[in-house]
């Protein structure tokens, strides 16, 4: 933490929750802000995760697999199985690889939450010279909304692709209550709410869980600064929460992946 700022609980939390930002293309205004920390961390994680899988996979042999290949196969077969149970079509073309991407990427981004925040902050500041740097990309709503909205647009894309524009319109106006023209508005309203709630719940669930985890780490860290007893309990609570968080991190990545698959599958099926 920089010496020129007084260390209070609010400045501590504020420091940890502030993004490293830049303005895109010299534009002013809130929208043209870019969170460099979120973007760089997530891209590094994505490249690392998918890249290492790629490095293993490109040497994949149909014979006896190496330990690394066996691990990747285990993960891919697990995801493939989940997708197979939900999606009834040729999943290998798009849906299953997308699910793998989501799972690996989100899991890695969530896992950054387990890294000890204050040590990481020290490293960012003293090794890289970055005073503000948020480590966990999924505590940024932009990340979760980016993923959820991408899935949302894929949902619309596949709805139109599979059922045709007319078929999709028919579905919007005539389901779930019936074909009667009097019900059209009601159907449309119902579908509208459904379409809006999907990306919202999808993204906020992930964001909320990981953000809450981050805040609890911050609170434990604050307690640890209050004295010997605080440090003692802080260590155990921090360790306990981190262990519990392994479950949450994995579970949330899995839930996010499964919901993406379910939404895309629903777009493929007509009512």
């Amino acid at each position: 933490m920089a010496a020129d700022k007084e260390l209070t609980p609010s400045s501590y939390i504020e420091h940890h929750l502030t993004y490293l930002t830049t303005q895109v293309g010299g534009n002013e205004g809130a929208f043209w802000t870019l969170h460099i920390d979120t973007l760089v961390t997530s891209i590094i994680l994505g490249v690392f995760g998918l890249g290492s899988i790629w490095l293993i996979v490109r040497k994949a042999t149909p014979g006896v697999p190496s330990k690394r290949q066996a691990f990747v196969e285990l993960m891919i077969e697990f995801i493939d199985n989940e997708v197979k149970n939900t999606f009834h079509g040729n999943r290998h073309v798009f849906v299953a690889p997308t699910a793998l991407t989501i799972f690996v990427w989100v899991l890695l981004m969530n896992t950054m939450d387990i890294l000890p925040i204050d040590i990481m902050a020290w490293i960012y500041e003293h090794v890289f010279g970055l005073y503000y740097w948020k480590t966990v990309p999924t505590t940024d709503v932009n990340t979760t909304f980016a993923l959820a909205l991408s899935i949302f647009f894929l949902m619309i894309f596949f709805s139109v692709k599979v059922k045709g524009l007319g078929g999709w319109m028919h579905e919007l106006f005539c389901t779930p209550f019936g074909k009667n023209p009097l019900l059209w508005i009601l159907n449309l309203l119902f579908n509208f709410i459904e379409y809006v709630s999907k990306p919202l719940s999808h993204s906020l669930r992930l964001f909320g869980n990981i953000y809450a985890g981050e805040i609890i780490f911050l609170l434990i860290g604050m307690w640890a600064a209050t004295g010997i007893a605080g440090t003692f309990f802080g260590v155990f609570l921090g360790a306990g929460w981190a262990i519990f968080h392994i479950l949450i991190v994995t579970l949330q990545a899995f839930i996010f992946m499964m919901l993406s698959v379910v939404y895309i599958s629903m777009a493929h099926e007509s009512h």
Binding site: I43, G46, V57, A146
Partner: protein, 157 residues
């Protein structure tokens, strides 16, 4: 909760990652897994086929053995039959040959008897004539009684 340009950047990154996985990560591993599954399935099928073939072969070998045994016993039976036939034939032909030899011997004996009889008869006739001529030397003229002597000789035959 400030939505900003980061969202668009993240969505872009997401789409690039999806593209990468779809194109480079998923297919090779899927291929490897599917190939391995095929190899395993083939192996299992080959094992099953081998087992069936073994079963078939053992059944066939039992059949062949059974058939061979039967053939062997048939051959032995035929051989026995043939042997007894040969013995029978040999007996028959020996009997016939014996009979023939016997008949030949009998004919020869008959001949011998006949010629002996002939010789004896001639001798007897001569002796009779000689005896008679001794007795009748004086009374009988061989020339005069030639016809008588000839008839006598004829009778003795």
């Amino acid at each position: 909760m400030d939505i900003n340009f980061t969202l668009i950047a993240q969505a872009l990154a997401f789409s690039i990652f999806i593209w990468f996985t779809v194109k480079y990560v998923w297919p090779p591993l899927l291929k490897a897994i599917e190939e391995r599954q095929k190899t395993i399935a083939d192996g299992l099928a080959a094992g099953e086929r081998g087992r069936q073939e073994l079963e078939l072969a053992s059944k066939r070998s039992t059949d062949v053995l059974k058939e061979t045994k039967q053939q062997a016993s048939e051959i032995i039976m035929q051989a026995e039959k043939r042997a007894s036939e040969i013995v029978e034939d040999a007996k028959n032909s020996a009997k016939v040959e014996g009979d023939r030899i016997l008949a030949g011997a009998r004919a020869e004996i008959e001949n011998e008897i006949f010629s002996a009889k002939e010789a004896l008869r001639q001798n007897v006739a001569q002796l009779a004539v000689a005896g008679a001529s001794k007795i009748l030397r004086r009374e009988v003229d061989a020339n005069v009684h030639a016809d008588l002597l000839a008839s006598l000789e004829e009778e003795l035959k």
